[in-house]
């Protein structure tokens, strides 16, 4: 079994809005293996994007990560920090470092080096007044400077502003930016490196976003809805690109998406989120073919099947709940829409537990066993189960 690169424990992120406290992510537990692709799926408001931002430590007011540990495997950093006596236990555990407990400076230095991120809307994630190449080169440069231990302070800024010839970005970083653009298959990178984001199409910009994330050779790539809003031909290109890069660089990818088709193509394991909680996590084929949580089952059943027009879709009744703390039920948050809900469900919020010993498939449902059994029964018509794996294209 591959070692885990990331172990997330009890991650909880809340937003303190005027309308009340929003529990965007509640007590999340999952692992990300080295070189693994883990998909986090869920509908809008399931907290999947907040999970990604929490991992990157990019939650801004009124949001706050209120609880949890994020253990990141970095023997080198663990060595460095190991000597410090106080609170050692909270910070270092063998090869793992709890990035939630390290100093802000170290935390920040991990962003853009070990962790890279692709944002949902590339049009908004690029600064409109700088060229695409410059922004990618900046990422390269930041990473280089961190390696050299260069810090950049106010004085450096003043020097840069005053002498018009000096630039933050060195020409080597600029060359590297061109290479990166070429790597993500942007045609004519030498010309396009000097273009502004608005001159790029959505798909090209998403590729450039990937290039920017690659600038630092990240260990973990967090891709937040990388295909949403793109045309289907372009989507396919991005999925292929991510697949290639994963093989090539061996990085771990956490892909956040609502598109189950994308998941089935790229993810080794799938985590299903609903109302800020993890409902089910397991190897993708298992989750798709034998969903143990009724919500996963319902989600898969809601998708029109692309390859089999005769399969009926069975919608889940009701609506996605809102996450205001005072409106959330005390029991399972899916209970009011769940076909299998019993009275117990309204009271007990089921923990995420192993479905069976050792097969890495965990589920949070009181009726997991029955669901599984029913699902297995229905698998007897193999077409349906098969088609389900393949199904699904929806985008917003």
């Amino acid at each position: 079994m591959t070692p885990k690169i990331l172990k997330v424990r009890d991650l909880t992120t809340r937003f303190f809005t005027d309308a009340g406290q929003v529990n965007a992510v509640s007590g999340l537990n999952f692992d990300l293996g080295q070189g693994e692709v883990l998909a986090v799926v869920g509908e809008s408001g399931s907290g999947k994007s907040v999970t990604g931002l929490s991992l990157m430590d990019l939650i801004e007011a009124p949001g706050e990560i209120t609880d949890g540990e994020i253990w990141f495997r970095s023997p080198q950093l663990a060595d460095e920090l190991g000597g410090q006596k106080e609170k050692e236990k909270e910070v270092v555990d063998g090869e793992y470092v709890n990035v939630r407990a390290v100093s802000p400076a170290i935390r920040q230095s991990l962003c853009g080096t070990e962790f890279g991120m692709i944002f949902q809307d590339p049009g908004a994630a690029f600064n409109p007044s700088l060229t695409v190449g410059e922004q990618i080169a900046e990422a390269v440069e930041c990473n280089k400077r961190l390696d050299r231990g260069d810090t950049y302070g106010l004085l450096d800024l003043i020097r840069d502003i005053l002498s018009p010839k000096s630039s933050f970005v060195s020409s080597e970083s600029y060359e590297r930016a061109i290479e990166l653009l070429d790597r993500v298959d942007i045609p004519d990178p030498i010309d396009r490196v000097d273009e502004y984001p608005h001159q790029f199409s959505g798909g090209m910009l998403q590729r450039a976003m990937v290039a920017q994330a690659l600038a630092s050779d990240p260990t973990v790539l967090i891709a937040d809805e990388p295909t949403t809003g793109l045309d289907v031909t372009i989507q396919a290109g991005i999925v292929d690109l991510l697949r290639e890069l994963r093989v090539e660089t061996g990085m771990s990818i956490l892909i956040i998406t609502h598109n189950l088709g994308v998941v089935s193509e790229i993810a080794d394991r799938t985590a299903v989120m609903y109302a800020g909680e993890l409902f089910e996590v397991g190897p993708t084929p298992q989750v798709f073919e034998r969903p143990a949580n009724p919500y996963t089952d319902g989600l898969l059943g809601s998708l029109p099947d692309f390859d089999d027009p005769n399969a009926r879709i069975e919608p889940i009744p009701g609506n996605v709940p809102n996450l205001l703390a005072h409106e959330m039920p005390s029991g399972c948050s899916f209970a009011d829409r769940c076909p299998k809900a019993t009275e117990e469900c309204a009271e007990i919020n089921p923990p995420l537990e192993d479905l069976t010993e050792g097969d890495d498939h965990r589920v949070a449902c009181l009726h997991a066993e029955t669901t599984r059994r029913v699902a297995e029964l229905s698998v007897e018509s193999p077409i349906r189960a098969d088609s389900r794996v393949d199904s699904g294209v929806t985008n917003e």
Binding site: F306, P309, I313, P317, V320, D390, G392, T394
Partner: protein, 461 residues
């Protein structure tokens, strides 16, 4: 120009449902034969606003060819899907059909009569027969109106029955689309996305229309809610004998809901036919690529994904609009069919790059540097260009090889104009010159496509 071969095409085996509308005096006897909606060579171009300055400078206004020569028919009771990527003109098409835009050219016939004449003579009357459901749940309802007001608005405009009758009808509709009548006095923003879409459907149904245009009604919804709406739509269709024109970019939704499909590319129809036929046996390379791109689909190929962008409808490519992205562009007729498709595709790529002005001498040298080969500089540069476009080092056809080499030499010498000139003169694909006519793939099912390859095959048969 596409020439429709026979207007009296054999119709599909679909019985037109009996639409009972006593007050529709213009109902013709031939209704069972005429389609509900017939669109012929429709064009809608947007012309850029021409201000005083443009007028003084006599600058040519830009022109977006959103819809550029589209023809198809919709029979009563069927669901026709219009599918295509962003910028293919599908929404403009829908809105032009409903008379929201004045068409630039072409003809739209609704129940045997010209739509724009109908609108000119009586806007309201036409409104009762054709309605629309929109994409964006956050903008499709007036936030300052309650559910009751929204659904009653069309009834008020048309003064259908007495007040009490209208309220009754509102209750009926609201219940029918699956909303609770307790919520009648709630404002639009108090509903969730799926509920708002239901309200939009209720509003469209209020006037008992024959045709409903569904403009991406589920693309902003979550999958679990999308499924509810899709099922509601098919129930309603059966119950009210509705005809749907369903616009979407989501191929699986199209396949789930539609009987026939129109695949659009850059304002033109690439392929049209029964959903099953088009999805199982696509005849147009674009349709094929579209189907193969669907993530998770069974026949998804992966490696073949197109890397280039969709061209702008402001300045669409000449000839077949898809030729800039097509993997199977026809080779020039003088080299015949024996020209290997791979090699030819490489040459074509080289030509497209030259034309876009992105391949000059400097680029060639840069490419050469990247390969860091020793030896003759010129040869290296040429080979680098060949490699970057995946053209084999030597072409099988010697004349072609000679000409290509000439062009490459010109390029390396810095005369990219000359290089392009050679390519234009000697490597002209029919796909660049001719707009492909719409040809029948299968007459019985009305499966048609607009591709020169398809026409060639038809010609051979």
């Amino acid at each position: 120009m596409s020439e429709r071969t026979s207007p009296e095409r054999q119709r599909r085996n679909r019985t037109a449902p009996d639409t009972e509308n006593e007050d529709e005096g213009e109902k013709t006897r031939s209704e069972s034969v005429t389609p509900l909606l017939r669109i012929e060579d429709l064009r809608k171009h947007y012309v850029d606003k021409q201000g005083v300055a443009e007028w003084v400078l006599s600058k040519d206004p830009g022109r977006v060819r959103a819809v550029d020569g589209v023809s198809f028919e919709v029979d009563r009771g069927e669901t026709v899907g219009i599918v295509g990527e962003s910028g293919c003109g599908k929404s403009t098409l829908a809105r032009t059909i409903l008379g929201l835009h004045e068409p630039t050219d072409g003809y739209i016939e609704f129940a045997g009569k010209d739509v724009h004449e109908q609108i000119a003579s009586d806007r309201k009357r036409f409104a009762r027969r054709a309605q629309i459901v929109f994409q964006d749940p956050s903008s499709c309802l007036d936030p300052r109106m309650t559910l009751r007001e929204i659904v009653r608005e069309p009834l008020d405009i048309h003064q259908v029955g007495a007040k009490a009758h209208r309220n009754e009808k509102v209750t009926e509709l609201v219940e029918r689309v699956g909303l609770s009548t307790d919520q009648l006095e709630r404002y639009a923003h108090e509903f969730s996305g799926g509920q708002r879409q239901r309200i939009g459907i209720a509003r469209a149904l209020a006037l008992d229309p024959e045709l409903i245009v569904l403009d991406e009604p589920t693309s902003a919804l979550d999958v679990s809610v999308q499924a509810q709406i899709l099922n509601l739509l098919s129930e309603l269709q059966e119950e009210f004998n509705l005809t749907y024109l369903f616009i979407s970019h989501d191929l699986s939704v199209i396949r789930y809901l539609c009987d026939r499909v129109v695949v659009m590319y850059l304002g033109q129809v690439a392929e049209t036919g029964p959903v099953d036929a088009v999805f199982e046996r696509p005849a147009h390379p674009y349709t094929k690529i579209l189907l193969e791109s669907v993530p998770g689909a069974r026949n998804r190929i992966g490696e073949e994904a197109i890397k280039s962008d969709i061209p702008s409808p402001r300045n669409p490519p000449r000839g077949c609009r898809f030729h800039t992205r097509c993997p199977v562009v026809l080779p020039p007729s003088k080299y015949g069919m024996e020209f290997e498709q791979d090699a030819w595709q490489g040459i074509f790529e080289y030509k497209l790059r030259l034309r876009s002005g992105r391949l000059g001498r400097e680029r060639a040298t840069e490419l050469a540097e990247l390969t860091d080969n020793d030896g003759n500089e010129e040869t290296t540069a040429k080979e680098a260009v060949r490699d970057s476009c995946s053209i084999p080092r030597v072409l099988s056809d010697s004349t072609a090889e000679e000409l290509l080499d000439q062009s490459l030499s010109a390029l390396v010498d810095g005369d990219s104009e000359m290089a392009l000139k050679i390519m234009n003169a000697d490597f002209e694909s029919p796909c660049e010159q001719e707009r492909p006519a719409v040809v029948d793939i299968d007459i019985d099912t009305d499966h048609r496509a607009a591709c020169l390859r398809a026409s060639d095959e038809e010609g051979e048969q």
